[in-house]
Symmetry: C2
Subunit: 429 residues, 2 copies
Amino acid sequence: MIIQNVKGGYDFLPKEQKIRNYINDILRSTFEEYGYLPIETPILCYYDMLAGKYDENNDILKEIYKLSDQGKRNLGLRYDLTVPFAKFIAINKNELRLPFKRYEINKVFRDGPVKVGRDREFTQCDVDVVGIANQAIEAELIDLYVKAFKKLKIDVKIKINSRKLMSGLILNAGVSEELVSPAITIIDKIDKLSEDDFKEELRTLDLQDDAINDLCRYFKLSFADLITTFKDTDNALINEGIAELKSLFNYIDDLGISSSIVFTPSLARGQDYYTGNVFEVYEANGKLTGAIGGGGRYDKMITEFIGDGNIYPAVGISFGLTSIFALLKDRDEFKNTSNVDIYIIPLDTMSQALHLASNIRELGLKVDIEMNDRKVKKSLDYCNKEGIKYVIILGSDEIKNEAFKLKNMEDGTEEVINFANLTSILSKF
Amino acid sequence: MIIQNVKGGYDFLPKEQKIRNYINDILRSTFEEYGYLPIETPILCYYDMLAGKYDENNDILKEIYKLSDQGKRNLGLRYDLTVPFAKFIAINKNELRLPFKRYEINKVFRDGPVKVGRDREFTQCDVDVVGIANQAIEAELIDLYVKAFKKLKIDVKIKINSRKLMSGLILNAGVSEELVSPAITIIDKIDKLSEDDFKEELRTLDLQDDAINDLCRYFKLSFADLITTFKDTDNALINEGIAELKSLFNYIDDLGISSSIVFTPSLARGQDYYTGNVFEVYEANGKLTGAIGGGGRYDKMITEFIGDGNIYPAVGISFGLTSIFALLKDRDEFKNTSNVDIYIIPLDTMSQALHLASNIRELGLKVDIEMNDRKVKKSLDYCNKEGIKYVIILGSDEIKNEAFKLKNMEDGTEEVINFANLTSILSKF
């Protein structure tokens, strides 16, 4: 019998799980302040549904864990929360009112190479809305990002772009339709490459020198310069892209959060299904190189998935929980494993200790009791190691006097508390 | 492409998920008040580890979903949280201090028959402690049960028994060692069978009439009568079982919660791995026939699983989330789908609406905005259907006057709130 974890899956110890719960609780409350509702969808899905939108050579198919049940159904473990969301809308559309705003925080599985930040079993956190075409919703989601990261005390910069503008610019440079997608993959890396290397990569697509020079120039322009440069263009994608970004930036200005965003014309945000504005969140001080969140508008995916003739415009963002965890884990506030407020050491007073603990818990405090008859010194050592701040030693004198000393393990001070006046303990917390 | 859920797996709509989150939040905070810490373990496990403790004909093996990864490892989806807990202790024992108290609320999978209350993919909620042999911990867990169900406003009766006492009584009736386990399965049903049917079932084990009569009598005795009947016995299991129950009942008396418990000598609590006191929780007014929680002491399972020569006494309880959900779902407090506090209807004031919403959210309230240019009447209908109590109609007059009316949709009253004094809105919540 092999007693170990499967590659790419991890146990989260209490010290870690406490931080993960802290992050989830902040995110959940923020999502709900913005009107997003919780849902939960199953992990086990029909394999055909998971594979449906990809052609058979797509790498993602290799990474789907396949299995079958006793009824010989072909199943798979979901690899994201977006396909399950589309399925959720398709199945439940008659019970939902659009616009429908939901969040889901749950596990997904990918049978791929394991490296730092890439596990096989991990938790995704998605916030999506279906049924709103107006850019106001993108602005609201950017505002949600700003608010959530402020609560998490993480400084962020949010890169914003438009996939329409990006495609329009590429076409305008003279690149043919079928090369837009591979060109986007290269342009997405413009900030990581020297100009020569960038041009070199574009040349692999057999582009003309003029096109390459145009692309070099376009994707370094500021938003103001793009507007000026293309004020007379008849390229519909550029015009729509600029109009939608203008609308979004106006809302963001009025929300007073423009210092958190930066227009980044080369931002592609990977996924092919994005159709409009896209965003990516970075820690502002460079503590992490990768993104800690991202999303965008995808008006076609759910529409095509459901295929009932209705249009289902959609916008979604996600939070990179593993990266956020990495940014928080070394903070002082998380240095203790225990989150016990008070530890009771009974000296032949177990019954009274149980009762006292129960009464203190009624006040909302976290209380633990020594139950293994360890020596007092050993118990105090345990409290010091676990970082438990307050201790009560409960002996026969305490029972007789109906009072105990609440000992502060950090500064050694003690305060007498009467059983009859337990609530006075709350002044310490 | 099949767009549906796999048999035995369900989408939880917001209305349902809100209740599930409500339950989880109450349970989590209660567990932490009692010193239990959160952990999370992986769903994907080595198949051999999951199957390890069962012989190859055990039904549970058929119900394990099997799969393999690209590295040809034989894997399975976990079917409970107890094996993962034992594995967690085995792997992480050097980083943990005993006693170790943890809870985990997460998904498990069983490829078995689907019926009411039996899904293939469902959430388990387990609270376990390893490293305490004293019955004080059982008392504390019973107290936790009482407290948690009180917070959930569910009246409960907790049945308590001792597996030692039960085995001792069966052996004392003259049943042979190898028939104890099948006898327990029958005795567990004593309250559901007539005396004749009960005897009939026992006869299938080829027991003597004397033994059958003894079993009939023993398992209807009160705790006091059992003590009297067996005060001079030299049956060690009966003596230990009674002593441990006495210790537990004393603690429970002193905790002032004995009205919530009932000694039930026929209670077996299924699982073979229990070695001492066992408990099962029932809704007190018969609203559900099945148990809504249960657990007990299992001193051998982790000890044998780890096999490092140390003893790992353990006690655990679980909460039946599906049953608890069934008891809560029709409560008035959960009748609304939405949990939005205030709905803003902008009349050509989207930017200001976004800003106002963001500021009200800063106060901790849940705010949503109409973004589809629907007519005011339609938006108000939407609020009524969703059960949203407060509405703000934001037009140019409101912007000019720097004030808006907060309209109560239930009684039609309105109150003027100045932008400069937004916090006054909190008096309504």
